[in-house]
């Protein structure tokens, strides 16, 4: 049962966070975009205030994850072992692709589809399909 309950509650928490950010600050909760705006100096968010709220949001992510594990029976997942070349290549492509395509799973997948944006729907279908083909291919190497 917990394998259905936790995904449902988790999904609801994600939705509530997304709605809250829109209600409070009027922004899309796209993590790749927020991260870029927090670290780069060439974006619309140049004031200290604009940077600061993005940084505190980003810091909140691991804090929330720690909280979830300490309050529930969900075990901390194993991260490795992962091939270092795959890790570096994958990470570079995730950064490159989300910057080029203006969004990731949260921005396009949740917020964009939640706004019924065709652009985000197209992006989401593409990245999920390509990821599925990649997993299929990687399993065959």
């Amino acid at each position: 049962m917990s394998n259905i309950i936790f995904p449902i509650i988790g999904g609801a928490f994600i939705g509530v966070a997304v709605i809250s950010l829109m209600l409070i600050l009027g922004h899309i909760m796209g993590i790749s975009g927020l991260l870029w705006a927090a670290v780069s100096n060439k974006s619309e968010s140049n004031s200290l205030d604009d940077k600061l709220w993005r940084w505190t949001l980003i810091i909140g992510l691991p804090l929330g994850t720690l909280l979830a594990h300490s309050l529930t029976s969900i075990a901390v997942p194993e991260q490795g072992p992962v091939n270092i070349v795959m890790l570096l290549t994958g990470a570079f492509l995730v950064g490159f692709g989300t910057k080029l395509g203006n969004g990731c799973t949260s921005g396009h997948g949740v917020c964009g589809i939640g706004r019924l944006s065709i652009r985000s729907l197209v992006a989401t279908v593409i990245f999920i399909l390509v990821a599925m083909i990649t997993v299929y291919g990687a399993g065959r190497i």
Binding site: G11, M22, G64, F92, G97, G109
Partner: protein
Amino acid sequence: MKSLTSLIVGVIFGVGLALSGMTDRAKVIGFLDIFGEWVPDLLLVMGVAVCTTYIGFRIVLRRQTPLFEVKFFLPSNRQVDIRLITGASLFGLGWGLVGYCPGPVLSSLAYLQIEPLIFVIMMLIGMTAANRLRRHL
């Protein structure tokens, strides 16, 4: 005040990602492994998150302004162009190779393991590279 509220929003998001299993790389790969032993959990996560968002946005966006800002910052770009398609494809390739996407990997920094840290650094390098390239396109 903005920073405090966004911290709380981040915490809620981080709780959601951990509860839903998105910070579990193996589970994400299992979800993407549709031709193998498919783990459908994350479809449920995405479905619930999208439905909640859809309803919530309809209510929130009826307002003239957000609580602490003068306007809503909604993307104006509606174009499905080659940049979007290429970007989404490359992101999908990277996601499939490792099983991390940006939100979950930042949340996974909580586990104090080396893989998420390396991933975040390399991801930032990738973003910087795409940004440099974009200026020449």
